[in-house]
Symmetry: C2
Subunit: 407 residues, 2 copies
């Protein structure tokens, strides 16, 4: 049997999907149990010099109304028109898979529910962690466990930038320019550097792990734009890496989520995840620690995850296989109540300010970097975010703060 | 509906399976879609002080002949009687899952075939990498890719020992004794320290990745018994870790497989996998590098993987979901023809022996450890195993050799 599919969008990921299906044709068909045939590629543009041109259509209704089309790979990105197309496709009994994190974060619960009701599938392995298998393991491997933590390096662009800053001692602006020149960062890099991309991904992973809708608007999100070369001098002195982490944790009956740069210690498996690589750390109540590592972005790794979803949908044409999460919102606890240590840089010298610091923060661990005369750092005891804020205001002279991942 | 299951063996893993099902009862039933009820536990022993006693049976036929039993978790270990029990169960239309690497390595192809013919499942997530999801990702996530390399730290005992030796500078015998005292190593530690355990696991992973039976007898296997404290001094000097790796690679149309200690460089994700943790690195032709990390052994992590298989089997009572590999043997290429660099320690000083070394090996990179006066090391260029052997014989005075993983 031939299973006809359509690809929505012939950009980076879409052209990757076509390339992967062509390159690994035989092994993919063997695993799918049927021949996967790309019948249509939807794009507003034409590609006269590309063999794909004969499959290009400009009107989604051609795909929607063709009963031969059983599976649609939506790799357009953005909420609209992807949302409308996906909903129509699922309602028409076609399975959809996607790399679209904005859409899954916003409407995942509803689309999964529609897929279930129509006995088809809505899969989104490529939406988090690019080529790294994480959605499927969460859905079907870690089923014996109650997951109480997910922490990820979920954005390749910022991890590349932070790795460069750590290795070469350069400043944020410099490394951003280099990342843009190399095509790793976009001209308008806010989605990456402000943490918005990581925020959507941790919202998806948390919704899946905890079974209820985690609204990405609710997640406290801090990017890497304020990280400086001097921060890395302190990190080096403390033998820590600075990583942009998205995490969610269950503490007692409360759920906390945050995206922020954090200091990571060498014994942590996330410490040595460098360059454009991503990794997702998961803690389960019986499994303990586990981590999934790989290329979180890029044409072929992302396409690899989309095509794996196509294969899975081809194997389950009329059988829903994905857990869904309730559209009932998971209320996140006030982030101000979450506990951790904080690394703080302040103006002055330890001699001048030791009494002030200890009067406000109690016992701390001092960090001094040779050559930095007019400032120093310290690591607080375990306090809440709210306590930190109040104490930092009271102390005065704080230059910057980075949270500590590990106690 | 209640799905009745039986557990074969109430040892470490078997008692873990019972514990996990009791602890996470609600979430497991929700994910399975039905209530999982342990009806029987097979063991030769009685456990009068354990609530499990009311489920204990001593005769496998009770389980086999009970039509209520749909799923059997075989966690006995060893080839017999596990093989006979598993075969009978599958032929009777019951799904089986297992942590038994010996059995899967030896009879996996046949048992998967029987499961397929009877529309049931034979799953073995726990047989490789304990709690790390790797079998299911290979089977259903990495389907867009052609896998060309799998390399794993597959044995927690030896990784613990090597980590200790690296960190504390102690000798093999000392660290083995400590591992035995802590219960990490067995009194008869050969299966671990000689690499036999890792060999079975890489045979299973390779069979699955390449689709044909890789016979573990065919895999060249070297353990860690000859690794010394001095080897770690050289490793430190070169900024490498020494890890016991099991790997298989497709090079052109040839397949190579080996288990041996190797020098791993810091940029390699396997470098920082320490203590009892395991990790499995996979390279796919479109995905690129990926790695799966977690606890490779232990009661609860292993039970987590067994119970995840039980859940999957409960969700697919009459639908075969596992790829099978052909029982046709995959002929491995002669390991003598595989290429790499070799780290070699020899007697003498570089001054005395430089001419000899370069006459035999050509250009090499010398490694000297301060304080070691009567020996030195060097890293060869890229040569075959057979060339190395011939050259090392010709050179004479070789104390030891460790392969380099990274070029």
């Amino acid at each position: 049997m031939t299973i006809n599919i359509a690809v929505l969008g012939y950009g980076t990921v879409g052209s990757g999907v076509v390339e992967v299906i062509n390159t690994n044709h035989d092994s993919i068909n063997k695993k799918a149990g049927n021949e996967i045939n790309i019948k249509y590629v939807l794009d507003l543009r034409d590609f006269p010099d590309d063999p794909v041109q004969e499959k290009i259509v400009h009107d989604f209704d051609i795909i929607l109304n063709d009963p031969q089309i059983r599976i649609i790979a939506e790799v357009m990105g953005g909420v609209e028109p992807a949302y409308t197309f996906t909903k129509k496709a699922l309602l028409a009994g076609k399975s959809v898979c996607t790399s679209n994190k904005e859409l899954v974060a916003q409407h995942g619960a509803e689309l999964l529910q529609i897929a279930k009701e129509h006995n088809v599938n809505y899969l989104f392995e490529a939406s988090c962690g690019g080529g790294i298998p994480i959605i499927r393991p969460l859905n079907s491997s870690l089923t014996a466990d109650e997951i109480d933590e997910i922490t990820g390096i979920l954005n390749g662009t910022t991890n590349y930038m932070l790795t460069k800053m750590a290795q070469e001692g350069c400043e944020y602006a410099e490394v951003l320019k280099e990342a843009q020149d190399r095509g790793y960062a976009e001209r308008h890099p806010e989605a990456d550097v402000e943490g918005y991309d990581a925020c959507r991904k941790i919202a998806i992973l948390s919704s899946l792990a905890f079974g209820r809708q985690v609204d990405f608007h609710d997640i406290y999100t801090e990017g890497i734009t304020k990280i400086t070369a001097v921060d890395f001098k302190y990190a080096k002195q403390m033998q820590r890496a600075i990583k942009l982490l998205g995490f969610s944790k269950k503490v007692g009956e409360s759920f906390y989520a945050m995206v922020a740069p954090m200091m990571v210690s060498p014994s942590d498996p996330l410490y040595s995840v460098n360059d454009v690589f991503n990794a997702i750390f998961v803690h389960g109540n019986v499994l303990g620690d586990a981590m999934f590592y790989g290329r979180g972005a890029g044409k072929l790794p992302t396409a690899s995850a989309v095509v794996a979803d196509i294969v899975d949908e081809a194997k389950h044409l009329e059988r829903n296989i994905m857990s869904f999460w309730s559209s009932k919102k998971l209320e996140l606890a006030d982030v101000g109540e979450s506990h951790r240590r904080f690394f703080v840089r302040i103006k002055g010298t330890p001699e001048e300010r030791r009494n002030d610091v200890e009067a406000v923060f109690g016992g701390v661990k001092y960090v001094q970097v040779p050559g930095l005369e007019d400032e120093f750092g310290f690591v607080t005891g375990i306090i809440t975010e709210a306590e930190y804020k109040e104490k930092a205001n009271r102390l005065g002279g704080v230059i910057s703060m980075i949270r500590m991942r590990n106690l």
